[in-house]
């Protein structure tokens, strides 16, 4: 209903801003998924008997997320400073191909 009250939202979306938002969304999604995978692998053992997290797991997850975000921020600043681009990471494709082919 608000789109009838606020005429400005009927304007076309800026293409560059949309791309920027998509890139940001992809970055944050991948960061969050990596945090989930890494911290749950490191902190939550596959041996439990109740549905709540106990004190050790809670503390470990807090520290893991905090360290991950710090490292993410530092690496992001570094990548921005040296203007890291996709061509600098092209060797990862070769590693991935080699790993997935079973060598």
């Amino acid at each position: 209903m608000s789109m009838f009250l606020n005429q400005q939202s009927l304007q076309t979306v800026d293409e560059t801003k949309l791309q920027y938002a998509e890139i940001q969304y992809d970055a944050m999604k991948s960061t969050l998924n990596t945090i989930f995978a890494q911290c749950s692998q490191k902190c939550i053992p596959l041996d439990y008997g109740e549905n709540d997290m106990n004190k050790g797991e809670t503390v470990c997850t807090d520290r893991c997320v905090s360290k991950f975000m710090q490292a993410n921020r530092l690496l992001g600043a570094f990548a921005h400073r040296v203007r890291l681009s996709e061509s600098d990471l092209s060797h990862y494709e070769q590693i991935k191909r080699k790993y997935l082919s079973g060598n």
């Binding site: 944050m28 902190c43 008997g49």
Partner: protein
């Protein structure tokens, strides 16, 4: 763009509805209870109460009162000459002293064990039986330290073994989650 990883800004108490206020209050209570001091205090209080019951039970079965041998000025024979009410008063005082000492001991045990275990677990950020072992050693050693180093060592070993046994029994039911919910 606002950082989506940060929690949403906190609303003050007046802006929240009744439900949200209740939820906030419940969250705070749970945070206090699951914190290390909260756990220690709860364990200490429950140990105190349990020790009180235990002390009353043991005091009613105590058999270490001096046996009358017919010697003059025997405190027991003097006590038996008193009227019933005063005899009962003396016995109750004795029972109360035993109950209080037992309650105090159990309360100390509970408080120290729970506090140390929670602290060790927070420090190591792991949840396994060694938290209980270390906490048991410190509790047993700490309570017996007034009787010398050998008693402290024996107390440490005994309490650590006891705590590990109980923990192993409680964890014997834990295990991996099933691969799926359909065929176990």
């Amino acid at each position: 763009m606002q950082n989506p990883f940060l929690p949403p800004p906190k609303k003050s108490l007046q802006e929240m509805t009744q439900e949200e206020q209740a939820e906030q209050g419940a969250q705070q209570i749970m945070a206090v209870i699951s914190s290390c001091p909260g756990k220690a205090i709860m364990s200490g209080v429950s140990g105190y109460v349990l020790g009180g019951f235990f002390g009353i039970f043991m005091a009613s079965m105590a058999y270490d009162t001096p046996v009358g041998t017919g010697i003059q000025n025997n405190p027991l024979s003097q006590m038996q000459d008193l009227p019933l009410k005063q005899q009962m008063k003396i016995q109750f005082k004795d029972m109360l002293a035993r109950t209080y000492s037992s309650a105090k001991n159990f309360g100390y045990i509970g408080m120290i064990f729970a506090g140390v275990e929670c602290g060790v677990e927070s420090f190591r950020a792991k949840n396994d039986i060694y938290n209980g072992t270390i906490a048991g050693c410190i509790t047993g050693g700490g309570l017996a330290i007034k009787s010398g180093p050998q008693a402290a060592l024996v107390g440490c070993a005994g309490f650590a073994a006891f705590s590990s046994a109980i923990d192993l029994y409680m964890r014997s039911e834990n295990g991996r989650p099933p691969a799926n919910d359909y065929d176990m």
